[in-house]
Structures are given as structure tokens and as C-alpha cells.
């Protein structure tokens, strides 16, 4: 899972930083009377900033193309699902949802085919987050009143998927859920 590699990456970087600081801290205790230290600790250190800039640049150019806005951008979705979020439920439907008389239906999606969710809200901001059968968050978008966010995804595993709300929407926020099936 992506989350696991993120956590490991983070823990490694955090450990390295800690080790550097601890090492620097103990170096200040050793008896090194010759060392007067730097006169002005703010002296230039161009190379350090350069390394930082280059590594951030590499990181950005690798990750930005993987942003959700560009994924499947030039494919045609084989199914479109309309989603209306409201306090405290999600309505999903293959037909347009009428804001005055909103109704949803149960949804079964094909696996390995591109699906587009057109997500909006009828009241406050909500989150539309899709969890797989192991309850891992696999993708999400926001449900914002007055706007439609289009989220594209290809489900590779059949099974039951859950939708949770990921934007505080009132007291019912933690129980606002929905499900759909992928076959």
C-alpha cells in the first residue's frame, strides 16, 4: 500500500534527522579547545541549499505527473456515477440526481474499467473517500456545494467498497457512509 511506503519513508527521514541532531549535540561536549567555532553562524553555505533544491526538484518532478488531475485524463470512462452528498448520507446514481427530489440507487461497478464519479453536495462540504474491503483509503475528492468534482478510478479488485465522509459536516459526520460493489 502507498500509505505503508509513505510511513516508512517518513520514519527513515525522521530517524536520520534525529541522529544528525543527537550527534551534533554530543559533539558540543567533547574537549576541543582549539575550535573557536564559527564567528557568524549565518555565513553562506550555498552547496547545502543547492542539494536541498535539487532533491526537492527531483521529488516534485517525479510526483506531480502522478497527481489525480492527470490520471486517466485522456481516456473515456465506461461508466459515470453521480454522487450527491448531504447531511448525513451519500446518494449514488447512474442517472442525474435532482437536487429538489434527490434519490440514490444501489451501485455495482465493473472491475478494470474506468469509472468517473461526479461528486457534489446539497448542503455543506463533505468528503467522498473510497475505502477498499480492507478499509484502506484508496482515493478521494471533496463534495462541495455548487461545484462538481470529477474523480476517475479503475478498480482492480472485485468486492465491497465503502465510502466515508472526510470533511467535518456536523454531528453525524463519523456515521456518514455508503457502500457499492465491484464485480
Amino acid at each position: 500500500m502507498q500509505q505503508d511506503s509513505i510511513l516508512h519513508f517518513f520514519l527513515i527521514l525522521a530517524a536520520i534527522s534525529t541522529i544528525v541532531f543527537v550527534f551534533v549535540f554530543f559533539s558540543s561536549w567533547q574537549d576541543d579547545t582549539n575550535n573557536e567555532g564559527v564567528k557568524n553562524a549565518l555565513r553562506k553555505r550555498f552547496w547545502f541549499i543547492l542539494i536541498l533544491l535539487v532533491s526537492l526538484g527531483i521529488f516534485a518532478s517525479v510526483t506531480i505527473p502522478k497527481s489525480p488531475y492527470f490520471l486517466f485524463a485522456d481516456e473515456v470512462p465506461s461508466k459515470i456515477i453521480h454522487v450527491s452528498a448531504m447531511q448525513y448520507a451519500f446518494l449514488l446514481s447512474e442517472k442525474n440526481i435532482d437536487a429538489k427530489n434527490p434519490v440514490g440507487e444501489s451501485i455495482i461497478l465493473p472491475s478494470n474499467r474506468l469509472v468517473e464519479f461526479r461528486v457534489t453536495s446539497l448542503d455543506v462540504n463533505h468528503g467522498f473517500a473510497i475505502y477498499n474491503s480492507e478499509m484502506q483509503l484508496i482515493t478521494q475528492t471533496q463534495a462541495m456545494p455548487g461545484y462538481v468534482n470529477s474523480l476517475r478510478y479503475k478498480f482492480d479488485k472485485p468486492g465491497k467498497y465503502q465510502v466515508l465522509c472526510l470533511e467535518l459536516c456536523g454531528v453525524g459526520h463519523p456515521v456518514m457512509q455508503s457502500t457499492f460493489k465491484v464485480q
Binding site: Q2, Q3, D4, L7, F10, L13, S17, T18, F21, V24, F25, S27, S28, Q30, D31, D32, N35, V38, N40, A41, L42, K44, I49, L52, L56, A60, T63, S67, P68, Y69, Q87, V124, N125, G127, A129, Y131, M135, Q136, L137, I138, T139, Q140, T141, Q142, M144, G146, Y147, V148, N149, S150, Q162, L164, L166, E167, L168, C169, G170, V171, P174, V175
Partner: protein
């Protein structure tokens, strides 16, 4: 030199901040206990707690930064005692009204009060939302006046371009802009910008509130404005603490004072821009936001780390590496705080990467990283300043065993509390859930662990609180010699 009045008002601020800090930590532990199903609150009670915790914490650590900067600024220019006092009185009034709104009026939309939830929140009293906005207006005005007055005072001594150290970009500058003045200026400009955005949001809210349905705000615009305010103020309060480090770290370590050089000037001028545009990362999951802004968000978030990490952190490391410096609780707190700041910053940069944000946005990863640079970063910067301030005339700045144990407690408690958040984030546990769906297996277990470690953190804070406020009371009741 600092007047007795300034010392007294600073002491009063510090005591007030620490009292509110202890209370707000207890609210935090209560939330974690509820998520761990150790206690059982109604959802409404949980969300009023959460809102109170968030707004109180942001408020006190922002003013803690302002108090420190105001105090140290007196070394360079005269600051206004009456405006400092005015800010104190209005802050206390604002906090009392906020607590009334949350605990009596059940205002529970989170500290960011994202539009339009406060207008459509069935749980709260009808007066709670307008009154919450009034309280924020009071705080906004008080802090705006305070920031502007500090800017006005430094502008009497330095020109605007000198405040931003532009003369250091050329060779052989005639006037030196102290790093403290440079960073305070950059930060205060950001603070003023963010407070103005807050005022605009509040005005737009009231416009809709009083229009009887004739005027409806644009949700995307409101979200942009809200996070411009919320993100910026939450970041600038850290930079206030950083300004303090530049001013006193070398001094308490018995080292020569740091001086502005061209690249320090350049880095902080750039950061002025990056900090103000990084907030776009809060809207990554709003796909209708123009793509260009999303990418600016990621790049600005990355670049914002350069003056912070590339300059400040490296400077601290160089200032300490193989240099026999005088360690005391003050520079030790600064040093550990910088580690917390770096690690929280790593968590933030990871989350500010759009392709990661898809699976991290609004999970516990978010409170994980911002608690890292607040509870283990900014709080330590401020505690260091509080210690330094309260002990400046008494030479007891040695590291006693008691200090070491307290630090150990703070570290163990803080790290355990944070790891439970990070693991929750990696396990897809949503943030801002009063209780967790049963399918999220690890969620409530991690919450219990987080609550237990947070109690150790609270224990350490209580010891610091006792030591600091004891001396601050001494200053408060001292008479002119």
C-alpha cells in the same frame, strides 16, 4: 531597555497562556479517550471540545509568539505598552466569548469554521455562529492593531527596504538589519495579510447571514480565503518563534551574535512569497480548483522549507557542532524544538505532495504532522523564551537532574502521542471522528495509546508550568527598585 511595565505585562501573558495550555491539553486527552472508547461523549460534546481545543491552541501559541517578539523588539525600538495591554484585554474577552459559544451555544464547526457549515449546523444555538464570528472579529482587530503597531515602530528606525534587508543583497551594506528584525518583519507582513483575509471571510459570512437568503457565498472562494487565513496564521506563529531563536540562541549559548548576510536576506524574502501561496495545498482534493494553483501549492510548499531548513536548521547545527557552548534549559529547548520542527516539516512536505495527499488528506496524518511542529516544536520555542524571560536576572540556568527528567517525560510523552497519530494516518483513520467505525481495526486502540502518552506530556508541562509561572508571579508583584 525593557521597562518594568513591559516585564509585568509579559509575565501576565505567560501565566495566562500556560493556564489555557494546560486546560486545552486536557481537552485533547478527553478527545483521544473518547476516540479510544474509554469515555463516552455525545458527538456534539466531542465537537464542541474539538473546536475549543483547536481555537484555544492556535490563539495561545500565536500570542505567545507575539509576546516574545514584542519583548525582544524593545532592544531595538520602543514598543507601545498600551497596545500590548489592549491586545491582552481583548484577547481575554475574545477567548471568554469563544468558550461561551462552544460550551453554552454548542458551536462545533471546528476552529476553521469552514463555510457553510456554521450556517447549517443543527446542533448549535442560533446565536452561537454570529457570536463566534464576533469573537473572532474582536481577536482579529486586537491582533491586527498589535501587529501594525509593531511594524509602525520598527519603521521609525528602519526604512521598509532595510526592514527586508534588501541592502544586504548588494555588497558592503552600510546599515545592518539584525536577523531578528528581518524575520519579524517578514512574519508580521504574513500575519497582517492573514488577519485581513479573516476579516473578509467574516464580512462575507455576515453579508449572507443578514441577507435573508438573497445573497449566497461561493463555497470555493470561501474555502480559499479560509485556508489563506488558517494556514498562514498557523505557520507564521512558528516563524515568530524562529525570530526569537535568531535573537537569543547565540546569546544564551555564550556565542557571538548571528548577523544577516546576503543569502539570509534572500532566503527570508523568498519565504515571504512561498508562505503566502503554500495554503493552496489545503484544496488539492477540490478538483475544480484551477490546476495551475494546485501545482503552485506543491511547489510553494516545497520551497517554503528552504529558508526554514536550509538556513535556520543548518545555522543551528553549525552553531553547535563541535563548539563548546553553554547548555542550559533554554537552548536545549530550542534545540529539541528545532528537531520537532524539522520532523513535523517532513510530515508536512510529504502530505503537501499531491499524489500522497489523495490517500492522506483529512486522515490522522494531518493532526500528526501539525502536532509535531506545534507540540514538539513551537511550544518548546515558546517555553524556552518563557524560561529565559523569567530567569534573566537570576543565574540558575544550569541543567539540573530535575530538568533532565522533565525533558525526558516531555519527549517520551510527545513522541508516543504523535506516533499514534502517524500510524492512524497510515491506517487510513479519518481525522475529526468522535468515534471510529468498527471496520477501522487499529483506530480506537491507537487512540488509547495516544491518550496515555499525552498524559505524560501533560505531566511534564505541569512541571514547566510551575517553574515558569512561579517566577513570573515574582515579576508581576515586584516593585521598581
Amino acid at each position: 531597555m525593557e521597562s518594568l511595565n513591559l516585564k509585568k505585562i509579559t509575565s501576565l501573558w505567560i501565566i495566562t497562556i500556560l493556564v489555557l495550555f494546560v486546560v486545552a491539553i486536557v481537552l485533547g486527552i478527553v478527545m483521544r479517550l473518547n476516540q479510544g472508547e474509554v469515555i463516552k461523549l455525545e458527538p456534539l460534546a466531542f465537537y464542541t471540545n474539538m473546536t475549543t481545543h483547536g481555537i484555544t491552541m492556535i490563539g495561545i501559541w500565536f500570542v505567545a509568539g507575539m509576546v516574545s517578539v514584542n519583548y525582544l523588539m524593545e532592544r531595538y525600538v520602543k514598543t507601545s505598552y498600551s497596545i500590548n495591554l489592549f491586545a491582552f484585554v481583548l484577547t481575554v474577552i475574545g477567548v471568554v466569548i469563544l468558550w461561551t459559544c462552544t460550551y453554552i451555544g454548542n458551536f462545533s464547526s471546528g476552529w476553521t469554521f469552514l463555510y457553510p457549515l456554521p450556517l447549517k449546523d443543527s446542533g448549535s444555538a442560533p446565536w452561537a455562529t454570529p457570536m463566534y464570528l464576533v469573537a473572532l472579529t474582536i481577536l482579529g482587530i486586537a491582533w491586527l492593531v498589535w501587529s501594525v503597531s509593531l511594524m509602525a515602530q520598527v519603521l521609525k528606525k528602519y526604512s521598509f527596504s532595510q526592514l527586508l534587508a534588501w541592502q544586504h543583497l548588494k555588497s558592503n551594506p552600510k546599515v545592518e538589519t539584525p536577523p531578528f528584525i528581518l524575520i519579524s518583519t517578514v512574519t508580521l507582513i504574513g500575519v497582517i495579510a492573514s488577519l485581513i483575509a479573516a476579516v473578509i471571510v467574516i464580512v462575507l459570512y455576515f453579508a449572507e447571514y443578514f441577507s435573508n437568503g438573497n445573497f449566497v457565498n461561493d463555497a470555493l472562494l470561501m474555502k480559499n480565503l479560509t485556508y489563506f487565513f488558517g494556514h498562514t496564521i498557523a505557520n507564521e506563529m512558528l516563524y515568530l518563534g524562529v525570530a526569537v531563536i535568531y535573537e537569543i540562541f547565540a546569546e544564551v549559548s555564550g556565542r557571538p551574535k548571528w548577523k544577516t548576510t546576503w543569502y539570509v536576506a534572500l532566503a527570508w524574502n523568498c519565504s515571504l512569497v512561498f508562505i503566502l501561496t503554500a495554503f493552496f495545498h489545503h484544496l488539492y482534493m477540490d478538483f475544480v480548483q484551477p490546476e495551475g494553483l494546485q501545482i503552485i501549492g506543491q511547489l510553494a510548499s516545497y520551497l517554503a522549507s528552504i529558508p526554514a531548513v536550509g538556513v535556520t536548521v543548518f545555522t543551528i547545527i553549525l552553531a553547535v557542532y563541535r563548539v563548546r557552548i553553554k547548555w542550559s534549559i533554554v537552548n536545549l529547548l530550542f534545540f529539541i524544538g528545532v528537531i520537532g520542527w524539522v520532523i513535523g516539516g517532513l510530515g508536512a512536505v510529504i502530505d503537501a505532495t499531491i499524489s500522497n495527499n489523495v490517500v492522506l488528506h483529512n486522515t490522522l496524518w494531518v493532526p500528526a504532522h501539525f502536532h509535531t511542529y506545534n507540540a514538539m516544536g513551537n511550544v518548546l520555542f515558546s517555553l524556552a523564551f518563557f524560561y529565559w524571560f523569567s530567569t534573566q536576572h537570576i543565574k540558575i540556568l544550569v541543567i539540573s537532574n530535575q530538568t533532565l527528567y522533565t525533558m525526558g517525560l516531555l519527549l517520551i510523552g510527545g513522541i508516543g502521542f504523535l506516533i499514534a497519530f502517524y500510524m492512524g494516518g497510515a491506517d487510513s483513520v479519518p481525522r475529526r471522528y468522535s468515534t471510529y467505525p468498527s471496520g477501522l481495526a487499529s483506530a480506537s486502540y491507537l487512540a488509547k495509546i495516544g491518550a496515555s502518552f499525552a498524559m505524560l506530556y501533560l505531566g511534564a508541562v505541569l512541571i514547566f508550568f510551575y517553574n515558569i509561572s512561579k517566577r513570573c508571579f515574582g515579576i508581576l508583584y515586584s516593585s521598581p527598585y
